[in-house]
């Protein structure tokens, strides 16, 4: 990893990905070996949108590397509420910390922030844009469970607003993967992601019904309909609950199918799936710590 900032999964080469994942595997096997790797480093957590997994796993990761985190707190209690620009906010915070982890509701926020500071900016989600560190832990989970060769990955749900989808789709162009996208017409991949996939020569297939492709998949990546990003609540209601998997549906899947989800889920994966061998989403969430430890070790 030679990147000053991590803004988009498009920055990641196959070599970058393998380097982080290999290191994450080493760290997962022996976390004590890196207990002082970032001793004295301070990570700023700037979350302008709610987060549980991403924020806590970054905080856990830096703590387990011997460093510390400082949290901007909620937007309601910060100067953002007084009208401060993002550019000003990050310029202040770079004076406090060695790197900034930023989540923001606007697309392009992390890129903008990176232009105003000298410390590394790590994009922890920018609106419906990108979420590259989620992608790294997704890839780690895929590699552990299904490998990177001759892979068939289904990505289902909100492909339009789902930033984890946009990042993962591009990152998968680095490996030997066929990508199958399953969504209602209104939530298909945005034009910009299609453009990148086309430019990268990706093998892309699209469906409106999961039944049409389920049996061919090694990995099924399910996503939540991003209610908060719909400009119109009625538009959300038209597709809410439309894409849902349960244990009965998965009986027609390959026995080795890995079911993933970036979480939180609402109703798109029934609770009975948790008891099947397919369920990998909690393991996936746990992988966020060693992967982010490997990333922070490389960037700090």
């Amino acid at each position: 990893m030679r990147h000053e900032h991590l803004i988009s999964a498009k920055q990641l080469s196959r070599e970058d990905i393998e380097t982080v994942l290999d290191r994450a595997a080493e760290i997962a096997a022996d976390p004590e070996a890196v207990a002082e790797a970032c001793d004295g480093s301070l990570l700023a957590l700037c979350f302008f949108e709610p987060s549980t997994r991403t924020k806590m796993s970054f905080e856990t990761a830096i703590t387990r590397l011997g460093g510390d985190a400082t949290d901007m707190g909620g937007v309601e209690s910060s100067s953002v509420k007084k009208g401060e620009s993002l550019a000003d906010t990050v310029r202040v915070i770079e004076g406090y910390a060695d790197a900034i982890v930023l989540r923001h509701p606007s697309e392009g926020a992390a890129k903008l922030a990176s232009q105003f500071v000298d410390v590394p900016v790590i994009n922890a989600g920018d609106g419906a844009g990108q979420h590259p560190t989620q992608t790294l832990l997704d890839l780690y989970t895929i590699r552990e469970n299904a490998g990177f060769d001759d892979l068939s990955v289904g990505i289902m749900g909100d492909l339009k607003y789902g930033r984890t989808v946009h990042s993962l789709a591009h990152a998968l162009t680095n490996v030997d993967a066929n990508q199958h996208f399953i969504s209602p017409e209104s939530l298909r991949l945005p034009r910009s992601v299609r453009y990148d996939l086309h430019e990268a020569g990706a093998n892309v297939h699209e469906y409106t019904e999961i039944d049409d492709v389920l049996g061919a998949l090694d990995v099924l990546y399910v996503t939540r309909i991003q209610r908060e990003r719909f400009p119109d609540e009625n538009e959300y209601r038209q597709v809410a609950g439309e894409y849902r998997i349960d244990a009965e549906l998965l009986e027609s899947a390959d026995d080795e199918l890995t079911v993933m989800h970036p979480l939180p889920r609402v109703d798109e994966i029934a609770a009975d799936v948790d008891e099947t061998n397919h369920a990998t989403y909690f393991e996936q969430a746990h992988n966020g710590v060693p992967v982010r430890m490997a990333l922070l070790e490389a960037m700090l």
Binding site: S106, E107, G108, A109, L112, G127, R191, S192, R229
Partner: protein, 153 residues
Amino acid sequence: MTDTELRVSKIRNGTVIDHITAGQAINVLAILGIDGSSGEEVSVGMNVPSDRLGRKDIVKVEGRELSQNEVDVLSLIAPAATINIVRDFDVIEKHRVSRPDVVSGVLSCPNANCITTGDEPVESQFEVLDDGVRCTYCETIIRDSIAAHISVA
């Protein structure tokens, strides 16, 4: 003297932007930030006959020589435009517009959720693609009606 020249008078010193896509002259002036407020004489011909284009627009700006960088952005809305630099009524330079790699501050991003549409101290910036432009912040691609996104006054 041709019919076109009768409608749009010759200039002594300045720039003639010819072969503008018909109907785009006002957008050309907007992109160049020419609104008459700084006193330059500007002549505009719209929908005038053209051998090459059938109909075209033409803009003449007295007393100002536009640079290549200034006019290249016009390629987004007027790809056939030609630029003539005039001194003492003679055309001393003639060149076509060429597509730049990036345009800054000219277009506004149509994505209302793009960080550049808020109150941040940055100019919009678009990468120029073969068949459109792409916001370098939120990555939104504009293919059609680029002129509708011109943000300069």
